[in-house]
């Protein structure tokens, strides 16, 4: 039983990362019905941005994690946001009214560009790059379950950001504009909402959350790789679908469920770690086949 709770703990930490990335998918999909295929790579870019600034900090600051971690987070966010906004402006916006296949194929292209650009920037990035362990060390034990402070930090930061996002979307003026655009972009525009701005804001928020997830994951696992974003992005997308795409609270729940399912499958199924990346896809297919609206989703109306 201790083992179960230990894995539950690990699953929640993993799920927090998935949920943070999934929010970007779900918000963008909610507003422009685009599966932003390159979002996983934005997550990866966040980690690389954090690593970039860390290597340029003076040694005294590198050793002081309380200072270094926020700096890495901020620079990671800036880097991810720049690329995400550029991607929206130059790749997706011109295709706003194109047939749906076009933006999806563009997204694949953007994803390849980001991954390869990163690989070319860091020669030898075929192998994982070492990421500094910025999260607090040590931990505590509750009833035989070891919880590290690093795990606590990840979950606390993630949950705080999710609450902040939910408050922003529900309470702020921009949040209201986002919800209006998601419901009906044309009407929103007629009501004076600058939909282009709302879409940019959505990309910025998603990229920032993904960047935080990227830096935290890098710091927790101690390494980053240029293609980290691919699988992580797919799993996060699964989480978003699981919770009902377009639904922020559902998406968070989906992230945690997926994280726990994956960890449990590794622990309790034969050759679990070999098939580690399989379960997300199995869950995805099962959800889409049996409950395409997700666990908490509303009916998705097909738009022409």
């Amino acid at each position: 039983m201790t083992q179960f709770f230990q894995q539950l703990d690990n699953g929640i930490v993993l799920g927090a990362t998935y949920a943070l990335i999934a929010l970007g998918y779900t918000m963008v999909y909610g507003i422009i019905q685009l599966i932003n295929f390159a979002h996983g790579d934005i997550f990866m870019l966040g980690a690389f941005g954090g690593l970039w600034i860390f290597n340029r900090l003076p040694t005294s600051m590198q050793n002081n994690h309380v200072v270094a971690l926020p700096i890495c987070l901020v620079v990671g966010i800036i880097w991810s946001v720049i690329i995400a906004v550029a991607m929206e402006r130059f790749a997706y916006r011109p295709l706003r009214n194109a047939p749906r296949l076009a933006p999806l194929i563009t997204a694949i292209g953007v994803s390849a560009m980001i991954e390869e650009g990163t690989r070319l920037k860091y020669p030898g990035a075929k192998a994982p790059l070492e990421f500094p362990a910025l999260l607090p060390g040590g931990g505590f034990t509750v009833g035989g379950v070891t919880v590290s402070w690093a795990q606590v930090t990840v979950v606390v930061v993630a949950v705080a950001l999710m609450i902040a996002l939910q408050a922003f979307v529900q309470k702020s003026r921009t949040g209201r504009a986002m919800r209006a655009t998601a419901q009906d972009p044309d009407t929103a525009q007629l009501m004076g909402v600058d939909t282009n701005r709302v879409i940019v804001v959505t990309f910025v928020l998603g990229a920032a959350l993904a960047a935080v997830a990227g830096v935290l994951q890098g710091a927790r696992l101690g390494s980053v790789k240029f293609d980290d974003g691919f699988v992580a992005g797919l799993k996060a997308f699964t989480a978003a679908v699981l919770g009902g795409i377009g639904n922020i609270a559902g998406c968070v729940a989906g992230g945690f469920i997926l994280g726990i399912v994956e960890v449990m499958a590794i622990q309790y199924l034969p050759n679990g770690s070999g098939y580690k990346d399989l379960w997300a896809f199995v869950v995805l297919i099962l959800v889409l086949v049996f409950k395409p609206t997700g666990l908490f989703g509303e009916q998705v109306v097909e738009r022409a």
Partner: protein, 570 residues
């Protein structure tokens, strides 16, 4: 009393683009009265540039440049530049389409000059290395560009209806010309010279297209379709005989052929039915594993040897069955969900292939797959040995190449017959608007499943041949990237056309072999190409007419298509 000026309140937004447009308009206004001297001067300067030395004497080049560029003479990129400049003489006539033709030719000339200028600059380590020819080449092609821009706008030239002999001649000349260009291009060793050649060919084709050649070719092909396919087949068969026993390109083209067949299969799924399948490579892999396991390979886990003639249908059927089994529950999903689910399927295939080591030997894969041997009652032909035909040595790779041609012919036939049938029209209806299609009484689920199954079957068949060419199979060759590559072959060539898929596969598999120094950048360029293509020419290089209408507003006119203008009927 205030007056609101007619121009005062609505200001044009000052963007970079508007400045460029203003500058261009100003240049055009100033240059228009001097069009004839500009054109003559441009041609003259470029022709002179193409015989002068391009590099200073004594400069030691580190990169691979063809010939001695510090001597006067014609050759390599200078020859291509000369040809482009001479083709610009068309500007002195008043023929329709001259403007677009001139623009194409002069842009081509400018790209070649500027690129070679840059190569010399970087190879020689500074402006000191650049000879007078390079300077004149850039200046001459700039003059040509300005002259082209002052040419009167005119519609694309339409040739008068040709007699039968004329139509047939158009087909033969076009196909034969393309084969000749291909052979010449493959023979060019130096990379910079090959690039110049490719640019020149592209510019010349664009110019010919705006002078009505592609329209004439299309008309001729529409009228004598059987003859056209026959000529294409003849050209494809003739290709190995031009290689003079050299195996390098036969090996590449054997792979191109397999990928082209798979791309046509994917085109049924994506181009006709509009189902974005991002895990298509899995079906290719399933066919491959079936063939690998049934071939009694050196590292096999199943010691059976099934004759290859049976393995193709077995592999195809296995892939098709799995495709249907997977598609049945998932095809109810909407477009982009389906894309992700198929991607998931592709990954599931790979993960299972890696972990199910008892059968697949995991990441090590199955190596030592023997060459195909036909049974004695089919002549006992051995695909692993070279043959001499008409006094030309054909390396063993050409056997596979010929097998590919047969495969492509079959796949093309399937594609064409489906496209022209009630089923094909049903697919197109689904692609355009699934709800409306269902309302019109089309059984959308069954038709989508059929498309998915046929696509999987064709991929499986192609996959069986692929592992015999590669002589090994391993799971990591079937990553998402391979699916994306096939998809981009379809998109690049043109969704919904056979020729497009073949062209796309040839470009995406063949070109990287020629441009070795871009190897590192290959995936990046590929991503960029996808983005640019979707932005500027979403219907692909060879567009199906229907697709083109779908991607461009009817009143947008020809402004959206700056490419070759080649189109294929659907």
């Amino acid at each position: 009393m205030t007056t609101i000026g007619a121009t005062g309140d609505i200001r044009e937004r000052r963007t970079l683009r508007s400045y460029v447009a203003q500058g261009r308009a100003a240049v055009r206004r100033t240059a228009t009265p001097y069009r004839m001297p500009l054109l003559a001067g441009g041609i003259g300067v470029t022709v002179v540039a193409s015989v002068l030395p391009w590099a200073k004497r004594g400069v030691n080049f580190t990169t691979d440049l063809a010939g001695d560029l510090s001597a006067a003479g014609i050759g390599g990129h200078r020859l291509y530049l000369l040809i482009l400049a001479l083709l610009c003489l068309i500007g002195f006539t008043k023929v329709d389409g001259a403007r677009r033709a001139l623009l194409g030719l002069s842009i081509g000339a400018l790209v070649i000059s500027a690129y070679m200028f840059y190569e010399l600059l970087s190879a020689g380590g500074g402006l000191g290395a650049v000879g007078v020819g390079a300077w004149l080449g850039v200046v001459g092609s700039l003059l040509l560009l300005v002259a082209a821009d002052t040419t009167r706008e005119s519609p694309r030239l339409v040739w008068p209806a040709l007699p039968m002999v004329g139509d047939l001649a158009v087909i033969v000349v076009a196909v034969g010309g393309l084969l000749a260009l291909l052979v010449i291009g493959l023979g060019i060793e130096a990379e910079s010279q090959f690039l110049s050649f490719a640019v020149a060919v592209g510019a010349a084709i664009a110019a010919a297209s705006s002078l009505g050649a592609s329209l004439a070719l299309r008309t001729a092909f529409d009228r004598y379709r059987l003859f056209g396919y026959f000529i294409c087949l003849a050209a494809a068969i003739a290709f190995p005989f031009t290689q003079d026993g050299d195996a390098t390109w036969m090996a590449v083209f054997a792979r191109v052929g397999v990928f082209a067949a798979a791309a046509i299969g994917l085109n049924v799924v994506v181009g006709l039915a509009g189902l974005l399948d991002l895990g298509y490579i899995a079906f290719f892999g399933i066919g491959g594993y079936v063939a690998a396991l049934l071939s009694d390979a050196i590292f096999t886990t199943v010691h059976v040897h099934v004759p290859f003639i049976l393995v193709i249908p077995l592999g195809a059927m296995a892939a098709g069955a799995i495709g249907v089994a997977f598609g049945a529950p998932t095809l109810r999903l909407r477009g982009d969900y389906l894309a992700i689910v198929t991607l998931g399927f592709g990954e599931i295939f790979r993960i299972v292939a890696i972990n199910y080591t008892g059968l697949t030997r995991g990441p090590n894969g199955i190596a030592g797959i023997p060459d195909i041997k036909l049974p004695p009652w089919l002549g006992g032909f051995d695909f692993g040995s070279p043959h001499t035909l008409f006094g030309v040595l054909l390396p063993f790779q050409s056997n596979y190449y010929f097998l590919d041609i047969v495969l492509i012919a079959v796949v093309m036939l399937v594609f064409a017959r489906l496209n022209d049938s009630r089923i094909g029209r049903g697919w197109i209806a689904i692609r355009e608007d699934e709800l409306a299609a269902r309302a019109m009484g089309i059984n959308t689920v069954a038709l989508k499943l059929l498309a998915f199954g046929i696509g999987a079957t064709l991929a499986g068949g192609a996959g069986t041949i692929n592992v015999h060419i590669g002589e090994a199979i391993e799971p990591n060759a079937y990553q998402f990237f391979a699916s994306a590559l096939l998809l981009s072959a379809v998109v690049l060539g043109g969704m919904g056309t056979v020729t497009g898929a073949v062209l796309g596969a040839a470009l995406l598999i063949g070109l990287p072999e020629k441009l070795r120094s871009f190897q590192e950048w290959r995936l990046f360029i590929f991503g960029l190409a996808l983005v640019l293509l979707m932005r500027f020419r979403p219907e692909g290089l060879i567009a199906s007419r229907r697709r083109k209408l779908e991607f461009h507003d009817p009143d947008e006119g020809a402004a959206g298509s700056l490419g070759t203008g080649l189109e294929e009927p659907t």
